[in-house]
């Protein structure tokens, strides 16, 4: 093979003027990766199945005053809020535990762009969850009006504040899962710590009086989210509590996680 014919030009050079991978394509790929594995697919299915079961249970056992659109919608948010963060965790950790990062970060070596694409996908998923909760709540409400005829059953009363608050909570929970995933880089550990750490903190804070009185309301994300679960407008103080707790449980893991992801060697 010593015949040295000059290789065609273009083969010996790198085209630095080629267009880079646009964000829209990165988002499309990450969107697909969210649901194209068995874990992702069944998580989405589990959310829908649990939501359907809750609707059925409410139709059978709930008192008449809870058979309204607003109540149904509120209940639908529970399975979504519980499982969507797991989906967000897997979206990040599978790059490490399944070692797909090797391919992901050779296709787009600017890792921050991959993180942004994944965040956009998380936002889209949270919006999708709210829309699904609205749709399922509406179906449940229609069925309630069909089978029950107590006063107020099938009421469509619902505030946009309620929808907005639900969307906010979904997105915050997703971000929290995302941050834990980036920081811990291991699916099982990230999921366990995501569920266990806040509970442990609540227990510790409940035992130690000083913490309970001075720190708890500023540092407990679960209780800070409480006021946002109703459809009512939320007080300025509740917003401050949420901002403070979110800084600790969401912003901090996100920042540390991003730092770790950008610096880590991809193995």
């Amino acid at each position: 093979m010593s015949t040295t014919t000059a290789p065609p030009t273009g083969y010996a050079t790198i085209d630095m003027a080629a267009p880079r991978v646009p964000m829209t394509r990165l988002v499309k790929v990450e969107m697909r990766k969210l649901v194209n594995t068995r874990a992702g697919f069944w998580l989405v299915m589990a959310m829908l199945i649990i939501a359907a079961l809750i609707t059925t249970a409410m139709l059978i056992w709930a008192p008449d005053d809870q058979l309204t659109f607003g109540q149904m919608f509120g209940m639908m948010n529970i399975p979504f809020g519980f499982l969507l963060p797991v989906l967000a965790i897997l979206l990040v950790t599978s790059e490490w535990s399944q070692r797909t990062g090797l391919v992901t970060f050779t296709i787009e070596p600017k890792r921050a762009r991959v993180v942004i694409a994944k965040l956009i996908v998380s936002l889209i998923a949270a919006l999708g969850a709210v829309l699904a909760a609205l749709a399922l709540g509406a179906i449940g409400n229609l069925l309630a009006a069909l089978f029950h005829d107590g006063p107020g059953v099938g009421s469509w009363d619902m505030t946009w504040t309620g929808v907005g608050n639900s969307a906010l909570l979904q997105f915050l929970a997703l971000l929290q899962g995302f941050g834990f995933g980036m920081l811990i880089m291991n699916s099982a550990a990230a999921i366990v710590l995501y569920f266990v750490l806040p509970t442990v903190w609540s227990i510790v804070a409940a035992i130690i009086p000083w913490l309970r009185e001075n720190v708890q309301q500023w540092a407990d994300l679960g209780s800070a989210m409480g006021p946002f679960q109703s459809g009512d407008a939320v007080s300025g103080e509740a917003w401050q509590h949420l901002a403070s707790a979110a800084a600790i449980w969401i912003l901090l893991p996100l920042l540390l996680g991003t730092w770790r992801l950008l610096r880590s060697e991809v193995k």
Partner: protein, 305 residues
């Protein structure tokens, strides 16, 4: 064109890559040969921007991988065929790649066909793939964006002899069109079959490089003395650089006559003196792999020794 210059990378106190320099030219398949843990993978990972170097540079036609726009369409990389989500199908992996790189979906079919993954196989989950099938998928993924440069880490690992010959013709054709190929292996015979040029690495350092013909015809001398240390001393004082060979003798680049004269002048008794011949590369490689011999013997495709 791949250029590695004075590349060094340490993990803790361990130097995985130690001042390595070499280059790969377009139109040739360059084999990167060394025992397991010699620093091949680390070098390739630095090249693909996945591992930061401590010092030195690794560039592709003068550019860092990190700066290349849509790099997978210009540089095809296969670092670990098993690093794929076990729950995705081979076809899905290629589809994800094609979407990200902005390629038509027909490219997925072309690549599956090229690496002989049947439609049924392509729809199976990767957890059910054999190592050979994963390697074929990995090669399909590296070639997906029709790159000018290929970086393949142990691509022949897990392929049967027919698969290795298939890869040889594939890469030869690719190089003939002007592509640059850097491919690593820990098996000498595998690299001998596929590569045009060779770079041999051991314990993080380059120990030999050149065309396959050059390396396989290494001139030099093998010499064994009654008193090994006396012989070594005699050669050193005559200005002949000699290194211990794997089988109790010494190896040097000097001609047999010079070695004989040096030994005679010092009165060192020789029991063996001969031209080293083409066995040089093999012997050197044996020496390099001596530490990992036990692993080699257990490897199913351990045909190098």
């Amino acid at each position: 064109m791949i250029t590695i210059e004075s590349l060094t990378k340490s993990y803790g106190g361990f130097k995985a890559v130690d001042n390595v320099s070499f280059s790969c030219r377009p139109g040739a398949v360059t084999g990167f040969l060394g025992p397991n843990g010699a620093g091949k993978t680390t070098t390739m990972r630095v090249l693909a921007g996945l591992t930061p170097a401590d010092s030195g540079t690794a560039t592709l036609a003068g550019h860092h991988y990190h700066d290349i726009p849509n790099p997978a369409t210009q540089v095809g990389v296969l670092l670990d065929a098993s690093a794929q989500h076990a729950g995705r199908s081979g076809r899905e992996v290629l589809t994800l790649g094609a979407i990200a790189m902005g390629l038509p979906m027909s490219r997925v079919e072309e690549m599956l066909h090229l690496v002989s993954l049947t439609p049924a196989e392509s729809k199976r989950k990767i957890r059910n793939y054999s190592l050979g099938m994963r390697q074929r998928l990995g090669i399909a993924h590296a070639l997906l964006g029709d790159p000018q440069i290929l970086i393949l880490d142990e691509p022949a690992n897990g392929l049967d002899p027919a698969g290795i010959h298939w890869m040889r013709s594939l890469l030869r054709e690719y190089a003939r069109r002007g592509g640059t190929v850097l491919l690593s292996s820990h098996l000498l015979h595998e690299v001998e079959v596929i590569a045009d040029e060779l770079i041999v690495i051991g314990e993080g350092k380059i120990v030999a490089q050149g065309t396959k013909a050059e390396l396989l015809q290494t001139a030099g001398t093998f010499v064994r003395g009654l008193d090994q240390s006396a012989l070594a001393g005699a050669l050193t004082s005559a200005g002949i650089h000699a290194v211990p060979s794997g089988d109790g003798g010494l190896r040097t680049e000097s001609a047999p006559e010079d070695v004989g004269r040096a030994a005679a002048a010092a009165g060192a008794v020789l029991v063996e003196l001969r031209p080293a011949g083409g066995a040089g590369l093999e012997e050197m490689f044996l020496e390099l792999t001596a530490a990992t011999q036990r692993d080699e013997n257990n490897a199913p495709e351990g045909v190098a020794v």
